[in-house]
Each structure stands twice: as structure tokens, then as C-alpha cells.
Amino acid sequence: MEQINYNYKGAINNLSKIMQQETFHKPLIFCGKKSFENIKPIIEKELKRVWGGGI
């Protein structure tokens, strides 16, 4: 089961709204080294959810 860090949930939901509204689907993501492992799987999952598994 994929571990979702609760702390990122609200932000990801809001990010998802912006991505859908603007039809963004090819992000260039800058993140801190510490955040990387937490953020990557969540954003990947969100992209999959928003764009149905591929572009």
C-alpha cells in the first residue's frame, strides 16, 4: 500500500485543482532534497488520477 504523508494532502488537492483548471500536465518540479522522496510518489499519483494514467 502506498504511503501518503497526510501533511501533503491538502496541498496536493489544491494543486490538482490548478492543474485541471489550467490543463497543465507536464510539470518541471523543483523540490528540496528532503522533500523529494515524499513528494514524488504523491505528485505521480495525482498526475495519474488527473490524466487517467497517461498523456
Binding site: 518541471l28 528540496g32 513528494i39 498526475l47 498523456i55
Partner: protein
């Protein structure tokens, strides 16, 4: 750097806290074929968001930027500044086009952060708001943002630093965002002007470095006179600002209690800071000239007295 599998995404994290020009230059070279991307997302503390802003500027990119701060202090998501270091010296990009188009504020990021990190970031926001309020370049709009931020900091900072109270975290996230909006108009003043060399020479985190002089700066600025006033709006106008601040129960005596309750050491000897002359000589002149009172060398030295 990681390319995201089935999606055309790229994760870039080849930079350290307090990023430097060399790291930005490298990122501009490495991230090629920019047409592959349609948006920039920056997730992290002020350094990460500033790095993304700088990359966008130096790459001449017209992609929109979504900032998601995970610490609450710099207000970087709501400013047109990006702090970078060159040869150990702090530089600040100041360019309207680097202001993020979107900011996602989620105070949950701050919960469970280390107490010291929360104290440093919260003090950065608090000092930004206070400095913005008395800044020479303040406007009615910036002072409105600043007052709201100061009130939120006053009411929430101690609980935010010492507990995982969600309401306190939400209020401090908002306070940080408002402080960012305030300094985006007014810029900061002497405490920030002095802080940069403290961070580069002694490795003291930015928010802690700023906090070291705020108490004495408050006292010094509240004693401004016609002889050393820099704000052309006049002495009565500036004096009225200190009446407003005192009515918010923020005065120089307030800070001793605050620092004690958020466990922030402000004795510079205990922090290993010995060369005040170096700090005074490397003060940021631009920010110093935005202080309502002209500060000579002796006054600058006095800001670090215990």
C-alpha cells in the same frame, strides 16, 4: 534530477539550502528542451521557491509558477524577490516577473517540524511584518498587510512553536503570507540588512539572524528624531507608527519574554558571534536606507548589546 516515468515531468533538486549563482547557472544548462514542460512547481522552503523563481528568470521561461511552501516565514510565495548567494555574499533578485502565479498554502506542512525550525521561520515572518510597518517605503496597503500579520504572529507564535496546534499553524501560515505581501511593497529594513552576513559568516539560520537585532532596533527606531529621520513623511507620522505598535502590545520589552518562550538564544556570545565589526561593515546598504532612522556605526554596534 529525476525524469518522471510515463509523465513528462522532471524533478530537480541539485541545490543546497541558501542556493548560489553557480547552482542556478548549472540548472539553466542542465534543464534543456524547455518546451517539454508546461508549468513549474516549487515545493519546499524559501530556498526552493527562490531557486525556481531564479531559474525561470535566467532561463527566460514564460512558464507559470505554482509555489507550495512547506515552511512559513519567508513569504517567498508572495514576493518578487529571490535570495541567492555569490561568493558567500547574499544577493536579492527583485523582478516583478518572478512573482509566482499561484501559491498553495497548506499549514499542515509545518506540523511536526522541529521546534527550532518553527521558531526561526516564524521570527522571519514576524520581523518582516514589523520592519515592513515602519519602513520608509511603506504604503497604506503594505501597512495593512503588516498589521494583520503582526497581530496573527503576536497571538499564535508561541503556541505554533511549542505545539502542533492546527489553528496556530494555519494562522502563522497566513501571517507569513501577509508579511510576504507587505515586504513585496515596502521591502525590509535594518534587522534584515544586518542578518545576511550573520548567516554567511556564522551559519545562523536566516530567521534567527534577523531576530538577533529586532529588540534593540525597535528601541532605537522608536527614539528617532528630526535629526536622523529618513522618512520624508515626517517625525509625527513615524512616531504615530510606534504608538500603533505599542497598542498592539509589541514593544522592546515584549521580545525578551517571546524569545524565552520560543527558546531562541539571542546572546550573540553564546552563538559564537564575535566580529560585530564585520557584520556592520557588510550591512546591506539598500535595506539599511529603508530604515526610518539613520543608523551610524555606533548605533549598529549597539543593536547587538544584550
Amino acid at each position: 534530477m529525476y525524469g518522471g516515468g510515463e509523465f513528462n515531468s522532471l524533478y530537480y533538486n541539485n541545490f543546497a539550502c541558501n542556493p548560489n549563482i553557480k547552482e542556478i547557472t548549472e540548472a539553466v544548462k542542465i534543464i534543456q528542451n524547455r518546451g517539454k514542460y508546461d508549468v513549474i512547481i516549487a515545493v519546499g522552503g524559501g530556498s526552493v521557491i527562490d531557486f525556481a523563481k531564479a531559474w525561470r528568470l535566467f532561463s527566460k521561461s514564460d512558464l507559470k509558477l505554482i509555489a507550495i511552501p512547506t515552511t512559513f516565514g519567508t513569504g517567498s510565495e508572495s514576493t518578487q524577490f529571490a535570495v541567492l548567494y555569490k561568493d558567500g555574499k547574499k544577493m536579492s533578485l527583485d523582478e516583478k516577473s518572478i512573482l509566482p502565479e499561484y501559491a498553495v498554502i497548506d499549514s499542515n506542512f509545518a506540523l511536526n517540524s522541529p521546534q527550532y525550525l518553527k521558531a526561526c521561520t516564524a521570527m522571519d515572518a514576524f520581523c518582516q511584518a514589523i520592519e515592513s510597518f515602519w519602513a520608509v517605503n511603506s504604503t497604506t496597503e503594505s501597512m495593512d498587510f503588516a498589521i494583520k500579520s503582526i497581530s496573527l504572529c503576536r497571538d499564535n507564535i508561541i503556541e505554533f512553536v511549542n505545539t502542533n496546534n492546527e489553528t496556530a499553524a494555519e494562522n502563522m501560515a497566513l501571517a507569513s503570507n501577509l508579511a510576504g505581501k507587505a515586504i513585496n511593497i515596502s521591502r525590509t529594513t535594518a534587522s534584515h540588512a544586518l542578518s545576511y552576513s550573520i548567516t554567511t559568516k556564522y551559519g545562523i539560520p536566516h530567521g534567527h539572524a534577523v531576530a538577533l537585532s529586532i529588540k534593540n532596533l525597535y528601541q532605537a527606531n522608536s527614539q528617532v528624531s528630526d535629526f536622523d529621520l529618513l522618512d520624508i513623511r515626517g517625525i509625527d507620522y513615524v512616531k504615530q507608527k510606534f504608538i500603533t505598535l505599542n497598542n498592539l502590545l509589541i514593544n522592546e520589552n515584549y521580545f525578551d519574554t517571546l524569545f524565552d518562550k520560543i527558546h531562541l538564544e539571542t546572546n550573540i556570545s553564546k552563538l559564537g558571534i564575535s566580529d560585530i565589526n564585520y557584520i556592520a561593515n557588510n550591512v546591506n546598504i539598500d535595506r539599511l536606507s529603508n530604515n526610518p532612522r539613520k543608523l551610524d556605526k555606533n548605533l549598529l554596534y549597539s543593536l547587538f548589546n544584550s
